[in-house]
């Protein structure tokens, strides 16, 4: 199908972008990598009156990742850049790994981190590790910026907590705590070009004794309308040393929280099984990794 006619803008600065957004509001769509947007427009699922291409805005393309200072990642940083950035690989291996598992090389060179979040697909790869890492999104409009934890920004399937005239401009990742580790895993029918049937990230921090869990955050993707942050796993594991029975109890608790659906990719029953398998594996892996650092 041919796309509808639209007006095309390619602003060069954040201020120009926000001015256009303020002017056109919901009549405009932001174009980052276009790997979601172009397909929706080609199918005429959406027909925006104007398209604001943000690829000329250098500010949206920068990664700041200095030792000891967390990271700030611009909304239009491409997933391939996150996959290959040595600084991000060293500090946030779960995020680099997840970015490198999206779609194909071509998709990763086009697609942006912001687009992956703003598409708000429950099966998206990167919101899961971002949420586990405690990432905040910065939402900007002509009237200023505000920050929101990522898991509060994605409110449902294709639903975001964005006001009219507002856009996501950058991600703020906290510096990983000492004695902590974050890992990501997913399950799909095949390795490449496959939408996940379940994905998960676990971020685990140990107390100074190097044995007791101070804090664990387990986030699940594809089993709920938005990234699902487990409440029960931290309640069970914080303050504990990890023993096998506890891993089983925690994995079963995560399984109980997941509310997956049947769809073309997997049945709900299968997804629930996988939640348990991934939870068990990731809790063990992050615990071992946190002890190692």
């Amino acid at each position: 199908m041919v796309m509808n006619h639209f007006e095309y803008f390619a602003p060069r600065t954040p201020a120009e972008t926000l001015e256009l957004l303020g002017r056109f509001g919901s009549k405009a769509k932001i174009l980052a990598g276009g790997t979601d947007l172009m397909i929706l427009m080609k199918n005429r699922a959406i027909q925006p009156e104007c398209v604001i291409d943000i690829n000329q805005v250098q500010d949206f393309r920068t990664i700041m990742c200095e030792p000891g200072q967390g990271a700030v990642i611009g909304t239009n940083v491409k997933l391939a850049e996150i996959q290959f950035s040595e600084a991000l690989q060293a500090k946030y291996p779960a995020l680099s790994y997840a970015a490198g598992e999206v779609g194909s090389a071509q998709v990763r060179h086009m697609a942006s981190l912001g687009g992956n979040t703003c598409n708000a697909s429950p099966a998206a790869e990167t919101p899961t590790p971002l949420a586990a890492l405690g990432t905040k999104v910065v939402l900007s409009s002509q009237s200023g910026d505000r920050e929101l934890p990522l898991e509060q920004f994605i409110t449902g399937v294709r639903q975001l907590g964005l006001n009219e005239g507002e856009m996501l401009t950058r991600f703020i990742l906290p510096e990983p705590a000492p004695r902590s580790a974050c890992r990501y895993a997913y399950m799909g029918r095949r390795d490449a070009m496959e939408i996940d049937s379940v994905n998960m990230a676990v971020n685990l921090e140990l107390q100074p004794d190097g044995e007791t869990i101070r804090n664990i955050k387990l986030v699940m993707g594809s089993v709920y309308p938005r990234p699902l942050v487990s409440q029960e796993v931290p309640a069970l594991l914080n303050g504990q040393r990890l023993i096998d029975e506890l891993i089983e109890t925690a994995a079963a608790a995560a399984q109980g929280e997941a509310k997956p659906i049947d769809d073309i990719r997997a049945t709900a029953e299968y997804r629930r099984e996988i939640v348990k398998v991934l939870a068990r594996r990731l809790i063990q892996e992050t615990y071992a990794a946190a002890k190692g650092v």
């Binding site: 639209f6 291409d53 194909s104 090389a105 390795d191």
Partner: protein, 161 residues
């Protein structure tokens, strides 16, 4: 509604009149007449339409032509030498029988070039991972992977551009 834009393709500038909604694949094939780049699915899934934009592999079927101004686009036609001799990757695909119907080949070669430009010594695993967005229904992939591995050897020995 048409706008005059300039596209740099294979080192040459082309002036073309486009609608904002015109896709790069259609402009390259129909307006400029470079038909080496293929259109398969039109939805980002098959990789037949892969071109390099500033050296990175991108899908021309989901890319607006108007968004490519000021960037360097390379298509399969841009790889052979002026005298017509093939690029080592092209030669390797021929030598290894990695081409059957040939429909996937331009996209495969552009993705392979992007990979070898970034990492001239990829493992077979990395070749598979980075080429997973290029679908071939003829060869069964084995010969394609072999062709890329062989080209990589030439690459690291001779420093191909």
């Amino acid at each position: 509604m048409k706008q005059l834009i300039e596209l740099n393709i294979n080192g040459r500038n082309y002036e073309v009149a486009v609608n904002p909604r015109d896709l790069l694949i259609d402009v390259i094939r129909k307006k400029i007449g470079l038909t080496g780049t293929k259109k398969g699915c039109g939805e980002g899934d098959c990789g037949a339409c892969t071109v390099l934009i500033d050296g990175k592999p991108e899908l021309s079927c989901i890319k607006l032509a108007i968004a490519c101004q000021g960037q360097k686009i390379t298509t399969i036609e841009g790889l052979a030498q002026e005298d017509g001799s093939l690029h080592p990757l092209q030669q390797s695909f021929v030598d290894h029988g990695a081409v059957q119907c040939g429909f996937c080949t331009p996209g495969m070669i552009m993705s392979s070039k992007a990979l070898l430009d970034r990492n001239p010594n990829p493992s077979p695993q990395e070749i598979k991972h980075e080429l997973s967005g290029n679908i071939c229904r003829c060869t069964g992939y084995k010969k394609i992977i072999e062709a890329v591995e062989a080209a990589a050897k030439v690459w690291s020995q001779e420093g191909v551009k």
